[in-house]
Each structure stands twice: as C-alpha cells, then as structure tokens.
Symmetry: C2
Subunit: 234 residues, 2 copies
C-alpha cells in the first residue's frame, strides 16, 4: 500500500483543519510535525480506552466514532468525527485516552504527535491558540449535546442530531440536505441515549410527516425549517 505524501499546504482540508489560522512559515513547521495519513479499515480501532495519550488526530477521509466502554460492558458513543475534524483532545491532561476511537468505514487519519507539542507551542504560539479554539468548540459541542440528552424528547434529539450533521456537511461543501449517515441506527441511538428501535420509529414518523425522506443510510431533509424547530421541543 503506497503512502501518498500530502503536505498540509496542499491539503484540500486546510481550511477546516488546524492550518486555518497559521501563516505559511508556521505551516511548514506544522508539516514537519504531522505524520502522513495512514489508513484504517472499517471497525478497526485507532486507539482503545486507557491507551497512553500520544497524539491528536485529524480525520482526512471517512468517519471516526469515539466511545467509552463502561465497566458493565455496554458502550456510550461520545462523538462522530468527519473529515477535517480534530479529536483525541480529552486525554491531554490525564495522559491516557478516556475513550476508544473506531473507524466506521475505511478512514484516513493525520496524526500530530503531542510529545513534540511542548516544544511546539513555543515555536508556533499560533498553533497552541488554535488548539485552544478547537477545544473550545468541542466544549460547546458537548454542552449542546448535554442540553439535548438532559431533557429532550426522542423527536427533538433526532432533529438536533440531523440538523447538526447537516451544518457540518455544508461546512465541508457537501450538501446540507442530502446526507449520508456513516453510522448505524444503533450507534445513533447510543449517542443520543435512545434505543435503536426508537431511532427507526422516529425516522419513519418524520418520513410520514414529510420532513425527511429516508432510504437506508441516505437521508434527504425535505423541510429543514421544521426540523430546526423540532430541535427545541420539549
């Protein structure tokens, strides 16, 4: 399997990724730090829970889910990451991964070794600021999700999930109305604190109400406004 060298400067995702705030000199330095993308097969793990924390990761293509296996066996899905999105931040302080990361399909990953970061934050102050910003976004995302799981109905959760996904898709110049779900109903349910059957039922209800059209994992959002409104119901 050949490795295609792709410098951060030329990467199509640069506008979505860490380079977004860096000047061209800093970009060269960043290139020196980033490990070239490596491929991960569907269902393969990038890291497991409690693995030593070594790097930050960025999705280049495909999709990653993170989850925490609980002692009692089940798992809780904590996030889905799309191309250009950075993850693995929550292990920085404790030194070990508080989640596991698994590919939902064949996925390419860029790796930013964090051991070198101590030096780096001094070499590239703009980078440490950028990381702070990414973390801040991640915090906002979590808080949104918390609000959701805290007290919303199944309908509102699904609506918010799809709305959020649409937003992220459009950010990366994909259609905001024609979405492909990379994850199973069961993963969605787990993420949203719902049974997989409830996810299915809610989808069909939305189809009946002509808010969505759903075919397997292809979702068309027919009425984005109404979907948006359902987000904050109950």
């Amino acid at each position: 399997m050949q490795q295609i060298q792709v410098a951060c400067q030329n990467c199509a995702l640069a506008r979505l990724c860490l380079p977004v705030a860096l000047g061209s000199e800093d970009l060269v330095k960043l290139d020196g730090l980033i490990k070239q993308p490596r491929a991960i097969d569907r269902n393969e793990h990038l890291f497991h829970m409690n693995d030593p924390f070594e790097s930050l990761y960025i999705v280049r293509s495909g999709c990653i889910k993170t989850y925490t296996p609980s002692p009692s066996g089940e798992e809780q899905v904590t996030g889905f990451y799309l191309p250009g999105e950075l993850f693995g931040l929550s292990g920085i302080n404790s030194g070990k991964q508080p989640t596991a990361a698994q590919a939902l399909e064949r996925t390419n990953i860029c790796e930013l070794p964090f051991s070198k970061m101590d030096d780096v934050t001094q070499q590239i102050p703009a980078l440490s600021q950028q990381i702070i910003k990414v973390m801040s976004d991640e915090l906002m995302h979590d808080q949104e999700l918390l609000g959701l799981l805290g007290k919303k109905s199944a309908e509102a959760r699904i609506a918010a999930f799809l709305t959020n996904l649409a937003k992220r898709c459009s950010k990366r110049h994909l259609s905001a109305t024609e979405i492909t779900l990379n994850m199973s109903r069961s993963d969605i349910g787990n993420y949203l604190g719902l049974a997989e059957e409830t996810v299915s039922r809610t989808f069909t209800r939305f189809v009946n109400e002509e808010i969505l059209s759903v075919q397997r994992r292809e979702v068309s959002i027919l009425d984005p406004e109404r979907l948006q409104k359902m987000t904050c119901s109950s």
Copy 2:
C-alpha cells in the same frame, strides 16, 4: 465594600487553580493579569448567554452554576463550579458566551481577562499549556456526564453526581463523606435530566438502603463503595 487584595502567590487555592504549574516568575506575571476577586450575590448573574466573551473566571469561594436557556423557555444546567475551578472556556472561539453563569450563594470570583491572553500565551507559554489542560479536564468531565445522561438510570445518575462531588470536595480538603449541596433539588434534576421529584425519591431510597443520610442539603455518604458501584448500573 472593601476589596481585599490577595495575590495569586498567597492564595489558598493556588494548588487547585491556574498557578499549579507556574514558576514564581510566571506567577508574578499572572498576578498582573488577574482582576482582584469581586463578590456576587446569590442568584445574581456573572454573565448571560450571548454576552461577549471577555474573560475566564475562577471561583474563589461560593458556587456557580452555568446553564443554557433554550428558546422554549426552560433552561438546561450544564455545570456547577466549586472554589478553585475555572469556567467560561467554551466561549473562547465563538467570542460569545454559550451559557449563562449564576451564583448559587454569595460568591467571589477571580477574573482573567482574555483579551490580554494573546500576548500572554507568548509571555507565559506554561499558562497556555495549563489552560489546555484545564480544558482537557473539562472535556473529560463533559464526556462523563454524557455517558451518564446517555443511558443511565436515575439511581446511577444521582450516584455518579454525588461521587463526583465527593471527589471534588476531597480535592479541596473538604470531607468526602459530609457534603453540603449548594444547589436545589431542581437544579440537580435539571443537570442530570431528571424531574426534581425523582431526585427527591432517589435520595430517600438511598437513605432507606443506608447508603446516605440526608438532611435538607447536608448529605452524609455512609457507604461510598456501594454508591460507587451504583454509578455504572444500567
């Protein structure tokens, strides 16, 4: 009302707070940045949602809750902050507060103006690293909470809430078994995605099972091990 000048160097909370990783020179610089503590009365707001993001805040004494008012009127409590804890991180990137912050009792707050931070991260690289660490912890906390709200029973949620609180209390040299709740049952319920009545009922069930003894807002944890175990049930 007099302002008592307390330098970070002499602050009793230094070991819990940002200074934890700073050398004495950096500490002096930090002191130059920190605004001296100001008092906030019970129920008063430190900031509202959508206020411009200007500072990071640290609780010196008292207790702060953060919440996001939803368009539909209700609110979702997203966190409680104890002395030594830093909050307000999630607004860094967007430039405005995604939550409101309200005092649960008379509370003293240290303020770290973030406008100066751009310069500061270069002056005190160790500080920006420390902030990254605090954010990482906050991310871990959120993920834990997500796991909780995702699929746990009311019992498990309350158990986890109390266990977490106990941990934080002991970290600040308060008893880990004799806890004073600064928040109402309703706040707890809101935070955990439960009705206030369910919180009450769960407390009394724990009392009957001799896991807790509860008097108003004074909670004694009689059987920490069992409480811990209930954390991951269902």
